[in-house]
């Protein structure tokens, strides 16, 4: 079992618009490959060339070394089964009828389905968990059930390769995982080669072990997740800034698309704002200020902190303290300089512990120098104060003129270039 698929120099154009341009692509026997790429990158087109729906204008496709054109329809269907994104199910076939159609390539014209075909149908339905639906009409099933029935039919074809064309695009998150796990299981247990065009990179990372990234009809990168799914590749192929990180529970590589800045119509540079500390709690504040076009600086944060990643992603000035160490004089000086260089300082609703209390000394210092300081959600400090001293220190700042804001959303008014407290100074 397992099919080797080679694609050499494939070319195809829709109405003179090239979709595949010299595509070279190789899937080894027993590979479990996710085909990634933006809309229009040629994923579906490539799969449809392999499944013989489209005829490329140039190039070769080889199955186990033999030219695809030499296969007749039934022979090819015994090698490869396809699960598309959606299958028309307008006719009142039962689930069993639909799955039985997977036996078509094995039956000669006047041959009737026999017991062994029925057994294979039954087993395929059990494997995909649709055996209990056997007598139901396909028209009466939900999207998730229907897609598993189509998978059962593909299994019933006993293929050596399974081509999936965005099979999970219409499924809910539960069925998505279940469906891809099924494909992975076929690959594991029966060594079926699986090639799946897939949009959801984060989902793909969990279920596949090889990745091929298409862009503009060419293979841009191929290999393990770490080699293919890089912010640089994502930006080039999907045209959006993205960052990668590890899944908090299982360490799988994940991609997140960053929101671009809202372009300022007058191209006015927003205020320079320094945001104190890091942690996930500071991210909404950072994102909001970023959206407003502010010139941000961050710190002090530790290396693996969310705030640190944010700063790196947007190339912002940041004070970084190595993990498991406390701030030294150099860090404190650096922090002071960042605050002095900004129009205003924001204390986001972060948790406080003995480790970050020394920050307040510098904050107090710039406040005394006349720098506006905004504290967000003073009322909620007690819940996130692990030192027992933060409230007192913050109250002290308020007495010296720091402004308290109820919600981070209130910052919008403060940082607007045409108004807010910062103007008093400019």
């Amino acid at each position: 079992m397992g099919l080797n698929i080679e694609v050499h120099g494939l070319k195809l154009a829709y109405d003179a618009q090239p979709v595949l341009q010299d595509t070279n692509f190789n899937v080894d026997r027993g590979d479990l490959v996710a085909l990634l790429g933006a809309n229009g990158a040629g994923k579906s087109t490539l799969l449809r060339c392999i499944s013989r729906i489209l005829k490329p204008s140039a190039g070769h496709i080889l199955l186990d070394g033999r030219e695809l054109k030499l296969f007749d329809s039934k022979e090819a269907a015994r090698k490869m089964a396809v699960v598309p994104q959606e299958t028309a199910a307008d006719f009142d076939f039962t689930v069993e009828d639909i799955v039985m159609m997977g036996r078509f390539p094995y039956l000669s014209r006047f041959q009737k389905e026999d017991q062994s075909d029925r057994d294979i149908v039954r087993r395929s339905m059990e494997m995909t968990g649709v055996a209990h639906l056997a007598e139901r009409s396909i028209t009466a099933l939900s999207g998730g059930e229907k897609q598993r029935v189509i998978m059962a039919r593909a299994v019933c074809q006993q293929p050596e390769a399974l081509l999936l064309d965005e099979p999970t695009a219409n499924l809910d998150i539960g069925y998505q995982s279940m469906f891809l796990e099924l494909a992975a299981r076929l690959n594991r247990e029966q060594k079926v080669t699986v090639v799946a065009a897939i949009h959801d990179i984060n989902l793909a990372v969990h279920h596949f072990n090889r990745f091929v990234l298409l862009a503009g009809g060419r293979v841009m990168a191929a290999g393990r997740a770490e080699e293919v799914i890089t912010p640089e590749n994502i930006r080039k192929s999907y045209g959006v800034p993205a960052s990668t990180y590890r899944h908090p529970l299982n360490g799988a590589l994940q991609v997140s698309v960053a929101r671009g800045r809202v372009p300022d119509e007058n191209n006015i540079q927003g205020k320079a704002v320094h945001v104190i500390g890091g942690g996930e709690e500071s991210l909404p504040v950072l994102e909001l200020l970023n959206q407003q076009g502010c010139k941000l600086s961050v710190g002090p944060v530790s290396t693996q902190d969310s705030g640190c990643r944010f700063a790196h992603f947007h190339s912002l000035p940041v004070v970084i303290v190595p993990p498991f160490t406390s701030m030294n004089g150099a860090h404190r000086e650096e922090h002071l300089q960042l605050m002095r260089g900004s129009d205003l300082v924001v204390v986001p609703p972060i948790p406080f512990g003995e480790g970050n209390l020394p920050i307040f000394e510098e904050v107090e210092a710039v406040l005394e120098e006349g720098k506006p300081v905004y504290i967000i959600d003073l009322a909620g400090v007690e819940k996130r104060d692990y030192s027992g001293k933060a409230l007192q220190l913050l109250d002290n700042l308020v007495q010296k003129g720091a402004v308290v804001l109820e919600r981070s959303g209130d910052l919008t008014a403060v940082v607007r270039p045409d108004g807010g407290a910062g103007d008093e100074r400019l």
Binding site: R48, S51, R52, I53, D72, S73, K74, E75, A76, A77, R78, M80, A81, V82, P84, T87, A88, A89, D90, F91, D92, F93, T94, E96, D97, I98, M101, G102, F104, P105, L107, R109, F110, Q115, S116, R118, D119, I120, R122, R123, A134, E135, S137, T139, A140, R153, Q157, Q158
Partner: protein
Amino acid sequence: MREVKTSELKQCNKRSEDEAGAKKKLFMAGLIVLLLFSAVSAMVLGAVSIGWRSVLIILFDTSPVSLSFAGVEVLEVHEDILLQIRLPRVLLAAAVGSSLAVSGAVFQGLFRNPMADPYVIGISSGAALGAVFAMLSGFSLAVGGFGAVPLFAFGGGIITIMLVYSMARVGRAVPVMTLLLAGIAVSAFLSALVSLLTYFAGEKLHMVVFWMMGGLGGATWHQVRVMVPYALVGYICVSIFSRELNAMLLGEETASNLGVNTERVKKIMLAGSSLLVAAAVSTSGIIGFVGLVVPHFVRLVAGPDHRFLLPASALLGAVLLIATDTLARVIIAPSELPVGIITALIGAPMFVYLLKKRKKLRYFGGGG
């Protein structure tokens, strides 16, 4: 992969198979009984009533088996009426009815469109143009005992389908949607030509209109002998590809992925069903609704599997046309109505009824 499965599952599997199979067999047996009944009734009823026992005696007289009922004398004139007029007419009605029903089923499946009927891609308009042209030009032509009208009708139908096919072709493929649209466009164009000719028909108007309403009046053995082989060839063509047609119902790409050579299947299906329709139209004019309603009715009872749908539609189509033709003969006997009027009068309300039931019975274009 082929290994022994637990016997329990096998049994459960088999039971459901048997149930579905038994239902289909029953339906088929019912259709055969209905066909025989309607055939005999059609031979009994008419301007001259012939007793059913006489009908049976006369029919069996043509075979080596002889049958007799005490006290029933067969009149020679009855024998003539039955064998020379009613029997060929019943057979022709059966052949035309099944041809229309089967081609309707094929077109609905091929186009995945519940509104498709045998005439959807213009065979009827082409045939009508041929027939009307033959009637109006008034030149006489006879090939193998046929007049100009059926010959031109047949030719018109076949040329039209070839035209539509070549118009719809994109490279080496023929997308069914393009085929359907090209068919509708050509059909509209040809219908306009037919109307134009009809406008100038003058004293032949009556003949033209009557032909287009469809009818089996004046059926002869000769017609039966020519019609039946065409119908058989057409039927065999389409029915040996019924498994492929099932797969095509899920869309052409899916069918292709399952190993169906879709372009070849489409060509054969079109050729076979066009032959059926052209043969039917050239013998009986344009009889509506049989080809639309019959396949829907069968699907409703027995599902969309063409391996059953095609033979069952053939039987039901025959029954329906024999029955409506008999009605057409007896309603205003000794005169008769065009059967196309009766099929539409009965077919249209039946179709509306099916549409109303559709939600509950979930058949075509379901989703609910």
